[in-house]
Amino acid sequence: MPTQLLETKVRRVTDGPAVIDLRGEIDGSVDEALNAAYTEAEGYQPSAILLNFSGVEYIDSTGIALIVGLLARARKGGRRLLTCGLSPHYTEIFQITRLSDFMTIFADEASALANSK
């Protein structure tokens, strides 16, 4: 297994959501990294968490399962989950899987921030 498929960075936007910058690939093996980043983002007590996929080249079905898991966590915590930076292909996959029914998809970070207030 390649190590460190996914790099994450968590930051807080003033008066806005916590942002998780994702870089690399999302499959079942990045479970820990992804959930740790989410926990870190939760620490800011934001009302919304933005997943920034602009650095992600690959998501597979086991990665979709992890995102379902994050969505379940967000629901439990009463937070909104937002996404930005998804390629057209993965945007379509988020629509096919109905993930987009539960998390708003923005083209880029700027539009996500403008609409997440």
């Binding site: 399962a65 992890l66 379902v68 379940a72 292909h89 379509e92 996959i93 899987t97 109905r98």
Partner: protein, 558 residues
């Protein structure tokens, strides 16, 4: 019966016919107001003894006995107390306050009171009995109602359908006892095609048992969706159950995961009765150690595995069967059950056979002592032949039978990969490279890549079960009319049923009711224009077809 002696008037207030208003007041010309004196006389109060030896009206003020009841009567300014006696038991007192004329009661008054008491006593007794019966009837009704609720909870949560696994026969029997015990069973369909079998028994009966059963079932389902090993599932369930389960209650539970393709049954046991495995060489108890759920946290559960060969069967059961008694109080017992399983050829027919034997043992008069639950699992003695040795998963579940389409198409390239996790990325990259000259629109190339990666991942994990030495064979074929590309991906998972793609239930996944996984086949089907599958005894092949024409997102109807 507890002797709760109430004053006469209280006893009578429910009785219209003997209402005090109709009774002429002893002496006074205007009716005295009758009140209820709430007085409870303990059965060991000396006053009770006194009245037994001196039946008749007594002047309370002259009583010199040390009795809480007498003190209470004096405090209530009772002058005269007339015992109401029915069949030798003191059932109440007729109490008179001071006469309004402030004179003493006459002998005549006392005579009248005595007559009244002798007539009123049986009436009061009847009233008391009627009331008592009503209370008992209400209590019975409440218990009945509770049992109905318990039965409803239990039956609602039992699976309504049996797993449909080609090559396997599954049958169940569930008969709740009158008092409704806490038996349950469940089937869990795992994303990788394996099926979990749960059988359990909650200590206690009725609504408390039904509620603990419902909780346990929910926790088990949640854990089974996320965790792969039966021991971990039980361990996790135990952790979650421990803080919430009422004291002195616990749950025995067996969790077994069947891989229908290989016949492997992987199991762990939390103190439940050991299943019987009937195989060619005889009958074996499937042992695995573990404490019942809910007793104490921090438990771990041994995991074992058996492999069910063609014709083998397994019986899961609850203690209602083995602990049934004969008219001579002999217990049905494990040895008898084990022997019966060994003598029978197993399968669905084992259930009526066992129930017949149970009836013969207990006799017709037997009142079922506890819930009886049986789950039988049998591997067919011959593999079920698939029609034409080919299976098709149609787009949108269409029933049309079709085998692989591209077998006759010219092959562009082929290659093999070992079954190591992560190799799906290689498959994706190599296929993308091979079809470069076809100039697929980028959006369609992305779809093909995702479909190839998912199908290869399925082949590695499910078809070849991550056994690195088994190859995944990939062929890329093209057709000019219609202009299309096909990718055929073969693994060594032949001879087992293909899972249906279906639509994963995102709502159930988000609610934690279903594993968050299980997207692979669904995604593949959505990515390509056509998806076909075929199996023989060894190989399983999935074929992905994408048309080149028709615009980036056109999915021509096949």
């Amino acid at each position: 019966m507890t002797a709760l002696f109430r004053s006469f008037w209280r006893s009578l207030t429910g009785q219209e016919r003997a209402a005090p208003a109709e009774t002429p007041p002893p002496v006074t010309p205007r009716p005295a107001s009758a009140t209820t004196l709430a007085l409870e006389i303990a059965p060991n109060d000396p006053l009770v003894l006194y009245f037994q030896s001196a039946p008749g009206a007594v002047d309370v003020e002259t009583l010199r006995i040390d009795s809480p009841a007498v003190q209470a009567l004096k405090a209530a300014r009772v002058k005269l107390a007339m015992p109401l006696v029915s069949q030798g038991n003191l059932i109440g007192l007729l109490c008179m306050g001071p006469r309004l004329s402030e004179q003493d009661y006459t002998t005549e008054d006392r005579g009248l009171l005595s007559n009244l008491a002798s007539q009123a006593a049986p009436a009061v007794r009847v009233a008391q009995l009627v009331r008592q019966q009503r209370i008992e009837a209400q209590a019975r009704e409440r218990i009945e109602q509770e049992l109905r609720v318990a039965r409803l909870i239990q039956q609602t949560l039992l699976p309504q359908t049996l797993p449909d696994l080609p090559g396997w026969q599954i049958a169940t029997h569930y008969q709740p006892a009158q008092a409704v015990g806490g038996d349950f069973y469940d089937f869990i369909y795992l994303a990788d095609g394996r099926v979990g079998f749960i059988i359990g028994d909650v200590t206690d009966k009725g609504v408390p048992a039904a509620l603990v059963m419902a909780t346990t079932r929910a926790i088990l389902r949640g854990a089974a969706g996320r965790l792969l090993s039966p021991g971990e599932v039980l361990e996790r369930t135990n952790e979650l159950l421990c803080p919430d389960i009422p004291p002195k209650m616990f749950v025995t539970c067996l969790y077994a995961i069947l891989d229908p393709a290989s016949g492997r049954l992987h199991y762990a046991n939390a103190g439940h009765d050991l299943p019987y495995w009937r195989h060619a060489a005889g009958v074996t108890e499937m042992r695995a150690t573990g404490m019942p759920l809910g007793l104490m946290p921090g438990m771990s559960y041994e995991e074992r595995e058996v492999r069910l060969e063609l014709g083998d069967s397994v019986l899961l059961y609850s203690d209602g069967l083995v602990e049934a008694h004969s008219p001579t109080r002999e217990m049905f017992g494990f040895p008898r059950l084990g022997a019966l399983v060994g003598q029978h050829s197993g399968g669905e027919a084992l259930i009526p056979h066992l129930l017949d034997q149970l009836t013969a043992f207990t006799g017709p008069e037997w009142e079922q002592e506890d819930d009886t639950t049986l789950v039988v699992l049998q591997r067919a003695s011959r593999p079920t032949p698939s029609p034409d040795a080919e299976l098709r998963v149609g787009r949108g579940g269409g029933g049309e039978d079709r085998s692989l389409q591209a077998d006759a198409w010219p092959m562009l390239a082929q290659f093999s990969l070992s079954s190591e996790p992560g190799n799906e990325r290689q498959a994706m990259a190599r296929v993308a490279e091979m079809v470069k000259d076809l100039n697929l629109p980028p959006a369609r190339l992305d779809k093909l890549k995702t479909a190839v990666a998912e199908a290869t991942m399925n082949a590695i994990e499910h078809g070849n079960r991550n056994r690195a030495e088994l190859p995944v064979d990939i062929r890329v074929l093209t057709s000019e009319a219609p202009a299309a590309v096909a990718v055929q991906i073969s693994d060594h998972g032949g001879g087992k049923p293909m899972p249906e793609p279906g639509t994963p239930d995102l709502d159930a996944k988000l609610a934690g009711l279903q594993s968050p996984r299980g997207w692979g086949l669904f995604l593949i089907e959505k990515m390509v224009d056509e998806m076909n599958t075929a199996s023989d005894d060894v190989h399983h092949t999935i074929e992905l077809i994408l048309y080149l024409s028709g615009g980036p997102d056109a999915h021509p109807t096949a």
